[in-house]
Structures are given as C-alpha cells and as structure tokens.
C-alpha cells in the first residue's frame, strides 16, 4: 500500500534532483529546466496531501503553481532571447557584469 510518506519522499527526491541541477548548471536554459523540475516535485506533494487529507486545497494550489510556471516560462524565455541577441551566449557568468 502506498502511503502519504512514500509520495512525500518521492517529492523530496525530485526536488533534490532539481536543486542539484540549479547548483551545477551554467547554461541559463538548462537552469530553467531545473526550476521546472522543482515546481513539479512540489505539485506531486500537494496532490498527495490533497488525497490523503481529503481536501481539495492542495489541488487548487497545484493549479496556481502550474499557472505561475507557465507565465514564468513565457517571460523568462523572452528575457533569454533578448539576452542572447545582445551577448550571443547563455552562459551564467556573462551576467556577472557588476564584478569589481
């Protein structure tokens, strides 16, 4: 029988994978992928809590997280395209222009 703890552990593992991606990625596009993984991991936890507590609020929050993720992708990718046209690279180090 699958319990709430199993889902929460899975969600934690997925979130950790996303965190590792955020830490080790240098390409901005792949950094975005890692944040998507983290958002999805949280959605799984919300849906599981919603099921095991018999409450719909968890699913509602998952919906709003999906909406936020969609708009984040639209704006973020627009900014990435502008940055790529300006600098010709997506390297994270190219953002460090204020280094003394």
């Amino acid at each position: 029988m699958v319990t709430l703890n199993d889902y929460l552990i899975l969600s934690a593992i997925l979130f950790s994978i996303g965190l590792i991606g955020v830490l080790r990625r240098k390409n901005l596009l792949l950094l975005f992928f890692a944040t998507e993984i983290m958002l999805n991991a949280v959605n799984v936890a919300f849906a599981a809590i919603s099921k095991f507590y018999g409450d719909l609020s968890g699913q509602m929050f998952a919906f709003f997280i999906i909406a936020i993720a969609a708009s984040e992708v639209a704006v973020g990718l627009g900014l990435l395209i502008v940055w790529y046209k300006k600098k010709g690279t997506l390297d994270l180090d190219s953002l460090a222009t204020m280094k003394g």
Partner: protein, 186 residues
C-alpha cells in the same frame, strides 16, 4: 497491488528522466527527457484521483511549456555541448542543510497544530466537477488574478521576444560575407 506497482514504476521512470535532464550535456536530450518526465508526473496525479490536474499537467507542461522551450531553443545554439561548473561538495552540503532547516521551520508549526480539511471532498462527485465547484466559489479571486497574470506574461513574452525582429541575424551575416568577398577581390 496494481497501484503500488504503478507508483514504484513511475517513481523510477520520473527520477531517471529528471536525472538525465540534470546531468546530460546535450540541451536537446535535456528537453526531451524533461517532457517525458512531465508526462510520467501526470501518472501520479491520476493515481491520486486528481484526474483534472493530471490532464492539465499533460496539456500545459508537456504541451505548452515544452513547445515554448522548443521554439525558444531555435534561437540558441543548442547543438554545442553545454559547459557546466562543478561546485565543491561544501556548496551541496551547505545548501542541503539550509533547505533542511527551512523545511523544519515551516513544518514544525503545522505538525504541532492538528491539520483538518478546509474544503472536504464531496461524496459521489467526479473530480473535475469538484474542482470546478471549489475553484469558482472559494478560489474565484485568485483564479481571476491568475488569468490577468497570464495575460501580462503573454504580452511581456511577445514584446521581449519580438524586439528587433525585423533585423534578421542570418541576413546581415550574409551581407557581411558579400562585402568581405568584394574586399578580397579588390
């Protein structure tokens, strides 16, 4: 029984796909494995009786978001190998400890007080209907705000990506090459 098998199967598949996304050096592999992982995530929603959420996950994430990424990648040089930094283990340990601390800080008041269902599920109603009832009564204002936010994001995306669209980068490169060739001939 079948639920348990499905859970562990999809858990393994999701973790494997996301691990490929995080570790591969090829941006195209990362994108396709991320799309596959998103679809496997929706399986958990179906297992958890959140049918509507699973459908939305497939439509929005695997459909819209991955399509946006695929179109966005046409602007970038995705065939090159992606360079990575390999941070020291101290960074992993410290960030992990900070994350753990944050979890403890946020969870401890929840555990100490008894959690009760705020909007209990209605018996004998299908999940999409239930979601509709709660979404358009209790969560109507956040729903409208999310709609406005998506509109703002759409306008922002169009304006940001559409800047200097009239100037084609490949055309200017070709012109430069022509000029360069003329200079060589002279």
């Amino acid at each position: 029984m079948y639920e348990t098998i499905a859970f562990y199967l999809f858990a393994f598949l999701t973790i494997a796909m996301f691990w490929i996304t995080v570790t591969t050096n090829n941006a195209l592999y990362a994108m396709s494995s991320l799309a596959a992982g998103m679809i496997f995530i929706s399986a958990f929603f179906f297992l958890l009786d959140a049918d509507f959420l699973g459908a939305v996950q497939i439509v929005v994430y695997s459909g819209a978001v991955m399509a946006i990424y695929a179109f966005g990648m046409m602007f970038f040089d995705t065939l090159n190998e992606v360079k990575e930094r390999n941070p020291k283990k101290v960074v992993f340990v410290l960030s992990g400890l900070i994350a753990l601390m944050l979890v403890v800080i946020f969870v401890s008041p929840i555990i100490s007080s008894k959690v009760q269902a705020l909007y209990p599920m209605v018996e004998g109603v299908s999940n999409p209907k239930e979601v509709g009832i709660v979404l358009f009564t209790k969560y109507l204002v956040p729903f409208e705000l999310a709609a406005v936010m998506l509109l703002v994001a759409m306008i922002a995306g169009i304006i940001l990506a559409g800047k200097k669209m009239e100037k084609s980068e490949t055309e200017t490169e070709q012109e430069e090459e022509v000029v360069f060739e003329k200079g060589v001939e002279q």
